[in-house]
């Protein structure tokens, strides 16, 4: 890399293995194993980045890949023809925040390697769960399990030498009831294939999918017959799973500093959390405390080092409602006078690391268990399990739909409603949070499908949440 003119360079040699098992109505519906291996070279030449990745895992492919990356970097560095005459703004060379070059090995703590579990055992677990879902209108009883292994070697011209084996898995069930032109889905433990964690197959076994299956099917049937969610401004309590996606969309994405600096503008947009707001902006109520934590056991964003070799750490994001921190990289952190928060992650050898969510966690509050929070709520709605999501390109106006909605009356659950939605503006919404359940109700949720960047990358990220209450939220938006 030095010979190619790089002032900095790194290489990631990575092998990914994925397994997806889908069971539908008691039978295997789709099973696939994907393997991908290759390496990606990232260099800074003449103050600009270049990256080249190749599937050719052979020594003779190294030098051409470095040459390609360097040529790409040089093209980034020079003013393009069309702008030369237009007195192009001088490029400021990329400057990386310092990091101690690390050497070491990290492996996800786990009990049972999911890739060592026989496929027959996985199918038996999932098939039993789907057979336990029954109902007159139940058209689809589905169960899912997925396992992921990323084995990566990282080396940099600064002297870092790292090896990591990140193991992730998860699963879930979904019941789909269809009748009279209506379709209702109920899922457990979360929608869109379930819940996910770093860890072993013990995580899936502990879900007890078969035991939850009858309830899930009954609730899908009940939703078919339920009236639609009422419209108006209401007190709402969000379950942990829905709250995880609320954190994801309205906090996790807007604190990505590359997005704040405009680097994602033309794709998924930028952020209302501009750098002038750092340390000064009231993001939410005093009940709202958020951290980005890559050290917490079990989170989908838990690892030893990020893809720039920055060690795992815990970064305050919101303290007592005040916005205090970003997810950053070595390139972007200096823009706010800080060092990297260790949030650079690539979805594979073939993609450049981007600032991604790690585990962006809403810290537990003091409202006890969910039952305690419900008991302390006289009149409201309980919304559970995400069904749809959408947010504007500065991450202000959002709208979510949930699978389940329960009336709360006098501290107790009442009627079931279907097609629940709620909408709001991010700071106003988090400003209305007046209670977060305590550590006894706090758990990590895995979001395995976070999209960002061009070329598109899908990241698996974590969110710790406990159920929380929000006042005067607009509910019941419908077509």
């Amino acid at each position: 890399m030095r010979q190619a003119g790089a002032s900095y360079g790194d290489i990631r040699i990575r092998e990914d293995r994925k397994e997806h098992v889908n069971v539908q109505n008691g039978r295997p519906e789709h099973i696939a194993v994907d393997r991908s291996a290759g390496f990606g070279v990232r260099v800074i030449v003449d103050g600009a980045w270049g990256f080249f990745g190749t599937h050719r895992l052979e020594e003779s492919a190294l030098e051409p890949a470095v040459r390609q990356a360097a040529a790409i970097a040089r093209a980034s560095a020079r003013p393009p023809q069309a702008t030369r005459a237009a007195r192009a703004r001088a490029r400021e060379p990329v400057v990386l925040a310092p990091v101690e070059p690390a050497r070491g090995f990290y492996e996800t703590p786990h009990e049972v390697d999911p890739f060592q579990v026989p496929l027959e055992e996985k199918l038996a677990l999932l098939e039993a769960a789907t057979r336990a879902m029954r109902g007159p209108n139940l058209k689809l009883a589905q169960a899912f399990a997925s396992s992921y292994l990323a084995h990566q070697h990282f080396a940099s011209t600064e002297g870092a030498r790292l090896e990591q084996r990140i193991l992730q898995c998860g699963g879930g069930i979904a019941a789909t009831a269809i009748a009279g032109g209506d379709m209702q889905v109920r899922s457990y433990p979360n929608s869109f294939r379930g819940n996910f964690a770093t860890g072993g197959w013990e995580f899936v076994r502990a879900m007890r999918l078969g035991e939850e299956a009858p309830r899930v099917a009954d609730e899908a049937e009940a939703l078919l017959a339920a009236p639609p969610c009422p419209q108006g401004r209401r007190t709402i309590v969000l379950d942990g799973g829905q709250l995880a996606l609320q954190v994801h969309e309205s906090c996790g994405h807007p604190i990505e500093l590359d997005r704040v600096l405009g680097m994602e503008l033309s794709y998924a947009g930028d952020s209302f959390l501009t750098t002038d707001k750092l340390g000064a902006f009231q993001y939410g109520s005093p009940a709202v405390n958020i951290v980005a934590d890559t050290t917490v056991r079990g989170g989908l964003g838990t690892f030893g080092w990020d893809d720039e070799g920055v060690p795992a750490q815990r970064t305050p994001i919101v303290e007592a409602g005040r916005f205090v921190g970003y997810l950053t990289s070595r390139e972007t952190a200096p823009a706010v006078g800080r060092t990297s928060s260790g949030a650079m992650r690539a979805s594979g050898w073939h993609r450049i690391p981007l600032i991604r969510m790690t585990n962006v966690n809403l810290l537990p509050g003091s409202a006890g268990r969910l039952e305690d929070l419900l008991a302390a709520t006289d009149d409201g709605l309980y919304l559970a399990t995400n069904k749809s999501w959408s947010i504007d390109n500065k991450r202000l106006n959002f709208q979510f739909g949930t699978e389940m909605c329960r009336e709360i009356k006098g501290g107790k659950f009442g009627a079931i409603y279907k097609n629940a939605t709620y909408t709001g503006l991010t700071p106003e919404f988090w400003g209305s949070c007046d209670a977060v359940c305590g550590p006894e109700a706090w758990q990590l949720w895995g979001t395995p499908n976070c999209g960002k960047g061009e070329p598109s990358q899908t990241a698996r990220v974590g969110h710790g949440t406990a159920p929380a209450r929000f006042q005067s939220v607009q509910v019941g938006v419908r077509a």
Binding site: E29, I31, A32, V33, D34, R35, S36, A37, G38, A48, W49, G50, F51, F52, G53, T54, H55, R56, L57, A71, I72, A75, S76, R78, P80, Q81, A82, T83, A86, R89, P118, L119, L123, L140, T176, I178, G181, M183, G262, M263, L265, S266, Y267, G269, H350, R351, I352, S390, N393, L396, N397, Q399, T421, T423, E454, P455, Q474, V477, R478, A479
Partner: protein, 446 residues
Amino acid sequence: MNPAEREARLLEVGSDLVRRSPADETEVALSEGTSLLTRFSRNLIHQNVGTEEVWAGVRVVTAKRVGVATASSLREEALRGALEEAMAIAKASEPVADWPGLPPPRPVEKIASYDAATAEMSADVRADLAGEIIAAARAKRAEAAGAVEIEESTLAVISSRGVAAAHSHTRVQVHTVVTCEDGSGYAEGLSTHAADLKGRAIGRRAAAKAAESRRPRAIEPGRYDVILEPPAVGEWLEYLSYIAFSGKNFAEGRSPLSGKLGERVTGPDVTIWDNALSPRTIPQALDYEGMPKERLTLISCGVAKAVGTNFHRARRLRKRRSSGSALPSSVSYECLPLHLFMKGGTSSAERLVKDTKRGLLVTRFHYTNILDPLKTVLTGMTRDGTFLVENGEVVGPVRNLRYTENVLEALGRIDGLSRRVALVRGPMVAPTVRIRQVQFTGATEF
């Protein structure tokens, strides 16, 4: 890279693996190609990447038990590993009672969609194309963000039933968001040939829109007549492909077209078809089962006509042959039509504005998502140029709004379509349309 040579090599590699397979039936899909992307923001290139990739999908069938595995290399050990893993999955699976066998071969038309000059476009030339957009933005004292993306790729499918087909293509995609104070504008270009795209023109379109959308005023959510430009229409088409035109969703009762073929599902002005063979899109000759792509009418004058299928799904739906909509066998969605066209009308974008008493002109949507697939209820935001139209004139920009709308119902309220259609990301080919009384349910602060 000579695409003919690569097609021949992939066919040979695939045939060899099929020959060595111990399965009753074996299908090998191989793709190989390079993708290059230059990304810019605030008038500077900030990300610039290239990747050469291989994807190998192996599907085996033994005693009607199906197994699928993939690899990312053409190396012997990788391909053999994928074959062994697919065999192991098949062994653990249950027989598929109605398995019709892998599809028999059908002639695949040769389509010219590979441009060597595009495939060989250097990082310097990509930077120059980005520079043209940036220069156009600068001329308006604005800033450009966006990307120039080049892809060249070959897909080859070989099977023990005798399928042996290959197709190569190039694709260049350019898009930009130009910001000018608090205004923003969008423009894009898409082609098989880089020479077709003029960076300065794309940059000027986005910059002009950005300048016009400065100082937007807030308006109340509610029902408005809308004029949707092609990128907005294309986004709805993309969602319809997934929720309505998927053969799998259709068969499972999850499509709004389930049980409604032959029935009116939207307005008489709506005709939508899939045609990956057309030179007006990014042509693709075959699907991932090696079946030829076909022109498939999905909705004709508001009446549901068909959904996209692979071979197995087609047989389950009592169709003789697949529509050529198979996705890679490792993808659980199975089949989707991905090259949609919406028929234009007799008007023009300008005329649609002139004929509007009060309404909104929408450049594009952002973060659309599904609220109710059976009723095609979608929600999303407007973005990068939303304007109020009064008495046939664009009177000024407005802050972005959230729509929540039943899309098939909304398309039933179309009262004007432009004759001219545009190729937009997807790839989708769409006109500008005017729709009465689209529901906007919220607003944002910019």
